[in-house]
C-alpha cells in the first residue's frame, strides 16, 4: 500500500486516529470525528472491533456514518440494542469498554475536556451542548482517545469548565480522586499526536503529520507546548486507507461527513 498522493489535514487526522484502535477493542464512540475514525478502523485493519454508541446500540456496523448518536443505521446493524440506563450502568460503568473516543471544544494541557461553556458558567459567552456521556466515558473506559483540530482556541492552558476530567492538575490527580482508569492517553489532531508525559501527565507532542513544522504546532497551541525527545513523523495515509475513508464519507449523508 503506497502512500497516498495528497490528503487533507482532516483526513490525516482521522487516519492517524483509526490506526490507534485494535481488533480487540471495545470502543465507546462519540459522534462526528470519533465515529469516522472508529468506523475507518473497522473497515480497514480492525474488522472485529466492537463499536458501542450511547444510544444503546452494541456491536454496531453502520454502512454509512451516522449523523446522530442514534441514527436508524446504528440499531439496524447492531448485535443488540439496550435501554440507555442499562448501557451506562452495565456496559460503561461496569468497566467493559477498552477505549472511549471523544471530541472536544476545549482541551487543556492536562487533557481535561470542556464541552459545556466558553466563559463563565453563569454568563457564558458561548453555550456549548454540554456533557452527554463524556464525563463517565472519561472515567470508566480503560483509556480515552481524543480527536480534535488543533488551534489556540481549542488547545488552552486551562479549560473554562471541566466537563470531562482528564488528568486534572497532572501527576496522580486521577488516582487521588479514586479513578482507576488511565484517562486520556492519546490526542490526535490535524497537526500531529500528543500523549501525556508519564510523570506530569502534561500533553506532549510525540508525532507530527507529514509537512507539519514545530513552529506551526507551537503557534496552534495555547500553552508553551513541549515536544518529546524524539518526535516521529506520522506515516501518511496509505492509498487503501484514503480510498476507504473517502468511500465512507461519500456514501454518508453530507451532514454526517466530517468537513
Amino acid at each position: 500500500m503506497g502512500a497516498a498522493a495528497d490528503c487533507s489535514p482532516s483526513e490525516m487526522m482521522i487516519v492517524a486516529a483509526a490506526r490507534a484502535l485494535s481488533n480487540d477493542d471495545v470502543c465507546f464512540v462519540g459522534i462526528g470525528l470519533p465515529s469516522a475514525a472508529c468506523n475507518l478502523a473497522r473497515l480497514t485493519h480492525a474488522p472485529d472491533i466492537t463499536l458501542i454508541y450511547e444510544s444503546g446500540t452494541i456491536e454496531t456496523k453502520p454502512h454509512v456514518l451516522p449523523l446522530s448518536i442514534g441514527d436508524p443505521e446504528l440499531c439496524q446493524t447492531a448485535l443488540t440494542t439496550v435501554p440507555v440506563p442499562e448501557l451506562f450502568a452495565y456496559w460503561l460503568q461496569g468497566g467493559r469498554i477498552t477505549v472511549g473516543f471523544l471530541a472536544a471544544a476545549q482541551i487543556d494541557r492536562f487533557g481535561n475536556i470542556n464541552t459545556t461553556v466558553i466563559g463563565s458558567y453563569g454568563r457564558p459567552t458561548v453555550r456549548l451542548p454540554g456533557a452527554g456521556g463524556a464525563p463517565e466515558i472519561a472515567s470508566h473506559c480503560r483509556q480515552v482517545f481524543v480527536i480534535v483540530s488543533q488551534t489556540p482556541r481549542t488547545f488552552v492552558p486551562q479549560v473554562d469548565f471541566i466537563t470531562s476530567f482528564g488528568h486534572g492538575t497532572g501527576g496522580d490527580h486521577r488516582q487521588r480522586l479514586g479513578i482507576r482508569t488511565a484517562g486520556p492517553t492519546l490526542v490526535v489532531t490535524d497537526l500531529g499526536v500528543l500523549r501525556p508525559d508519564p510523570e506530569t501527565r502534561e500533553l506532549v507532542v510525540t508525532s507530527m503529520h507529514p509537512g507539519v513544522r514545530r513552529e506551526e504546532v507551537a503557534a496552534q497551541t495555547g500553552w508553551p507546548v513541549r515536544f518529546a525527545p524524539t518526535v516521529e513523523e506520522t506515516p501518511p495515509p496509505s492509498a487503501h486507507e484514503l480510498a476507504v475513508l473517502r468511500d465512507l464519507v461519500a456514501r454518508s449523508a453530507p451532514a454526517a461527513a466530517p468537513s
Binding site: S55, G56, G70, C75, A89, P124, E136
Partner: protein, 288 residues
C-alpha cells in the same frame, strides 16, 4: 415534582389536543423523551399551539423539539444532559435563551447522560435518589447542587447521588398500541419505559392502534395499559426524528434547522407556517 401516584386505571384513547389539554398543565415538570429515536414532535407542537407556559422541561437530549418549545417561550427551566443539534451543531433557540434571555430567561439544571439516565431509573423504581460512580473531578458537580456525594457503607468508596426524576407528566411516542391500550416500543428504547413509570401522568402518541401488538418475542418492551393515562394515534408523530419499522430520520431537516433557527424572525416565521397554522390564539414571543 410531586410524588407520583403510580397506580393508574387503564389508558384512555384521546385526540392529541384533548390529551395535551388535560394532561399537560402550565407550570408542570414535563419530560418528552425519546433518545434520537421516537421523539414526540407532534405532541410537542400541540403543547406549543396550546400555549402552555412556565414548563420545566426535562430531557436528556433537548433536540429540535425543545429548541422550538424554548424559542416559543413555553419553558422557564431545562433539566438536561446534552443540548445540541446532533451531528450539526448548536440549538440556537436554546443558546439565545441562555445567552440573551430571549424570549425569556431559562434556568438550567445540567447533568451527564449517566446521571440523568439513572435518575429516571430511580424515579421508575420509587427510590428518592440514584447512585452512580460519576461526576468525579467535573465542574458539573460544582455548579449543580443536585449532584451530591455519599460513601459506600461497605467499602467507603465515594459515590455520586442524584435526586430521582419524577416528572409531573411524561410524553413519549411509540410504534403502536393495541385496543386494550398496551404500548409497544422497539429499536432504540432510550429511557422511555423509565420516564413513563417515573411520571405522575403519561401521554403516549403512537404510529397506529392495532388489534395485535405484534410484540417481537416474550421480552419485548411493552408498557401495560395501566401504566399510561392517554394514548393518541398520531401517525408520523415522531418526524423529523424517526420510528423504527415505520420511517427514517430526516437528517436533511436536522441540518436545515441550523439555518432556520439562527435568526429569531426566521424561526418565528417557520413556526407560524409549520406549527401554529393549524391552531389559533397562540401567544407568539415579542408579539405581546
Amino acid at each position: 415534582m410531586k410524588a407520583a401516584e403510580r397506580i393508574r386505571r387503564k389508558a384512555r384513547f384521546l385526540s392529541l389536543s384533548e390529551a395535551v389539554a388535560e394532561y399537560v398543565r402550565d407550570g408542570d415538570v414535563v419530560a418528552m423523551e425519546g433518545f434520537t429515536h421516537l421523539i414526540p414532535f407532534a405532541a410537542g407542537h400541540e403543547v406549543i399551539r396550546q400555549g402552555k407556559r412556565d414548563l420545566t422541561l426535562v430531557r436528556m437530549t433537548p433536540d429540535l423539539i425543545y429548541d422550538q418549545l424554548i424559542g416559543m417561550g413555553c419553558a422557564r427551566k431545562l433539566i438536561f444532559s446534552w443540548g445540541g443539534n446532533p451531528g450539526v451543531g448548536s440549538l440556537h433557540r436554546l443558546r439565545d435563551a441562555v445567552e440573551h434571555g430571549w424570549p425569556r430567561p431559562l434556568d438550567l439544571e445540567e447533568h451527564s447522560h449517566a446521571g440523568m439516565a439513572q435518575a429516571y431509573a430511580a424515579g421508575a423504581a420509587g427510590l428518592p435518589c440514584a447512585i452512580l460512580r460519576g461526576y468525579l473531578g467535573t465542574d458539573l458537580a460544582r455548579v449543580n447542587p443536585n449532584v451530591r456525594f455519599i460513601d459506600c457503607p461497605f467499602t467507603g468508596a465515594r459515590l455520586a447521588a442524584i435526586p430521582a426524576l419524577r416528572p409531573d407528566v411524561a410524553v413519549i411516542h411509540a410504534q403502536r398500541a393495541d385496543r386494550r391500550g398496551h404500548v409497544l416500543i422497539e429499536g432504540i428504547v432510550g429511557v422511555q419505559k423509565e420516564v413513563v413509570l417515573a411520571a405522575s401522568r403519561a401521554v403516549v402518541t403512537v404510529e397506529e392502534i392495532v388489534d395485535d401488538l405484534r410484540a417481537s418475542g416474550p421480552n419485548a418492551v411493552v408498557l401495560p395499559s395501566w401504566t399510561v393515562d392517554a394514548i393518541v394515534e398520531a401517525p408520523g408523530g415522531a418526524r423529523p426524528s424517526y420510528a423504527h419499522g415505520y420511517y427514517g430520520r430526516d437528517n436533511a431537516f436536522y441540518a436545515a434547522w441550523d439555518g432556520i433557527s439562527r435568526d429569531r424572525e426566521a424561526f418565528l416565521a417557520w413556526m407560524r407556517e409549520h406549527v401554529l397554522r393549524s391552531g389559533g390564539g397562540v401567544r407568539v414571543p415579542g408579539s405581546a
